[in-house]
């Protein structure tokens, strides 16, 4: 009996095994740079309280609008200069990065959970439920997400919770589509049939036999989605609809700093560069993972 169950459940592992987390050695130099940048950014975000030389919200009106290191009027210790209220831009960038990371991560995970669950259920239950879910997916694809985000933020106000909600809703339809497609394919496989014949409940089939096999497309989609969520968060914060001042996110630093663009461009340039580093690194890694996992996703 133990042998039989072992044999029945072993094929579902192949999907996992064929997708091994790729390592340093089989990455080209662009990917290595992206990996390094990504690691540095993650470490910076994690160690923000120790790394930042100043309190990100501490104002000092005497030393406002000072340029970064190497320029005239540079004030010692403020490497990236100071903003219109004399706050240290370096510290604000670090804390902004931390918050952007946290928000994007929360948003991406929520989107994954919502979308993945719906896709899994649609694929397994089928019938009317599937029709409805896929109808919603079609509708979501047709409506630009920025509009929905604007609507939610205007109605529910701009706070951290609402922001996580908005970012969490983003991208669910991608997961639903991918997971449902995979499930439809898997459900006809002999090992699922065998599990069903052996008397496994639908829930058990979903969790033990199907879910492990959709991990690799989900990981890829997660990475690609993460970069888009960072862009969405920065854009909304830039427009003044995101997390409210004085709390710094990278987008809101650019948004508020743009009023000082002619005289103090460093207020904008520093966070803008951090955003670019972040999105570049994530985008490159996501694309690389996709090639590695060889998932036929639509390139968007």
């Amino acid at each position: 009996m133990t042998d039989a169950t072992h044999n029945l459940s072993s094929p579902h592992n192949t999907g996992l095994r064929s997708f091994r987390i790729p390592i340093w050695s089989d990455a080209n130099w662009i990917v290595r740079i992206a990996l390094l940048i990504g690691l540095i950014l993650i470490l910076t975000a994690l160690t923000a309280p120790w790394l930042a030389p100043f309190d990100p919200n501490a104002q000092s009106l005497i030393s406002r609008l000072r340029p970064p290191i190497g320029f005239d009027r540079y004030k010692d210790g403020f490497y990236f200069g100071t903003d219109e209220l004399g706050r240290d831009i370096f510290s604000r960038c670090i804390y902004g990065l931390r918050l952007t990371f946290a928000l994007a991560l929360a948003g991406a995970v929520i989107g994954l959970l919502i979308g993945g669950t719906l896709g899994l259920m649609a694929g397994i239950i089928g019938g009317l439920f599937e029709e409805i879910v896929m109808g919603l997916v079609d509708a979501q694809i047709a409506i630009p997400f920025t509009l929905i985000a604007l609507l939610i933020l205007a109605i529910m106000g701009s706070s951290l919770d609402v922001m996580i909600l908005v970012l969490g809703v983003y991208g669910w339809e991608q997961y639903t589509r991918i997971v449902r497609g995979e499930v439809k394919k898997l459900i006809q496989m002999p090992f699922v049939e065998a599990a069903r014949a052996a008397g496994a409940t639908p829930v058990r089939i979903a969790m033990r036999h199907i879910l492990p096999n959709v991990v690799s497309p989900i990981v890829v989609q997660f990475t690609l989605n993460f970069s888009n969520i960072v862009i969405l968060e920065s854009t909304l914060s830039f427009l003044g609809l995101g997390v409210q001042p004085p709390t710094a996110t990278l987008g809101s630093m650019v948004g508020i700093g743009r009023d000082y663009l002619p005289t103090a461009p460093w207020i904008v340039l520093a966070p803008a560069m951090v955003i670019l580093l972040l999105t570049f690194a994530v985008q490159i890694l996501g694309d690389w993972l996709r090639d590695k996992a060889d998932v036929r996703l639509r390139s968007r």
Partner: protein, 308 residues
């Protein structure tokens, strides 16, 4: 064919209905609309009077029904701030938005189709790699960063271009570039992929074998066949990417368009304007998508036979 068109139209109708309902329930979820309109210090009795006057004490179903019927009869209410019909406010913003969109789409097509063809032809050489790296990274640059950098370079440093408004042809340059950034990246990739599919076909070899010059082979036999796939993707992508991009870009350049209006009314909480703005942009995108779908089916018999 007819079934296919009908099915596309039905899907469009469902999507429209969903967004109209979403807008209603989103607004109601957040509390009583009366509280947004009124200032501080109103008495309980006056508040109840107003709630009864606007019919907000009736059941949510009745309110929803009333909302639907007013939407379909074309009444969308008055702006909280400007006290005139929201349809008027949004309509006068439509043309500037459309102008900017057209300019961005033209620019995108002019730049990205040749780039995509180049990248497909020279896919093994350095030209192809460079084009693809640029297109790839371009997709990761938020349009507000392109916009801000353009302003910094061309307006504040070089003093060449005006920043605010849509007065002259010069005003179009920076917003067009900022919106196009992501579009160019996306369309270049699609053009390359569509061309790659076509380039390996037998009829390309035949065309070369009968002695046609290479550029005719590429343009007439290659691009023309790739263009069917390309057009459908371009139509679908441009509508949604442009809607997203123009919101930010219009707001940066104070462009008197719908995107700028949406952001402004979201910040000032002018709900009627925001509702109608979101609805009209969503309708525009959905209608364009459906039109592209149907046009695509007309152009390619395989689609309409398979799906219809």
């Amino acid at each position: 064919m007819l079934t296919y068109v009908l099915r596309t139209l039905l899907r469009m109708a469902i999507t429209l209905f969903l967004i109209v309902s979403l807008v209603f329930f989103a607004t109601r979820l957040s509390g009583n609309p009366v509280d947004f309109v009124l200032g501080e210090g109103i008495t309980k009795e006056d508040r109840d009077l107003l709630i009864a006057y606007y019919g907000l004490d009736s059941s949510i179903g009745t309110q929803y029904w009333r909302y639907l019927s007013s939407v379909f009869s074309g009444e969308f209410g008055l702006s909280f701030l400007e006290r005139r019909p929201v349809s008027e406010i949004v309509l006068e913003r439509a043309w500037p938005s459309l102008k900017l969109l057209l300019s961005a789409v033209c620019f995108t097509l002019i730049v990205s189709i040749p780039l995509g063809i180049l990248a497909a032809i020279y896919r093994t050489s350095i030209i192809g790699s460079v084009v693809m790296v640029v297109a790839f990274l371009g997709y990761a640059v938020p349009s507000f960063i392109i916009g801000i950098l353009l302003v910094l370079i061309f307006a504040y440093t070089l003093n060449w271009l005006p920043v605010i408004g849509d007065g002259t042809a010069l005003h179009f340059i920076m917003p067009t570039l900022a919106i196009s950034g992501m579009l160019v990246a996306a369309i270049t990739r699609f053009t390359r992929n569509a061309m790659l599919d076509v380039l390996s076909q037998d009829y390309m070899r035949t065309a070369r074998a009968k002695g046609l010059p290479e550029w005719i082979v590429i343009l007439k036999h290659g691009l023309r066949n790739a263009s069917i796939t390309l057009l459908s993707v371009v139509g679908l992508q441009i509508a949604s990417l442009a809607a997203a991009g123009s919101v930010v870009v219009e707001s940066i350049f104070a462009w008197p368009g719908i995107g700028d209006l949406l952001v402004r009314s979201a910040i000032l909480r002018d709900y009627p304007v925001l509702q109608f703005g979101v609805l009209s942009v969503a309708v525009a995108v959905i209608v364009i998508n459906a039109a592209v779908d149907i046009a695509y089916a007309f152009a390619d018999p395989r689609i309409r036979l398979a799906k219809g």
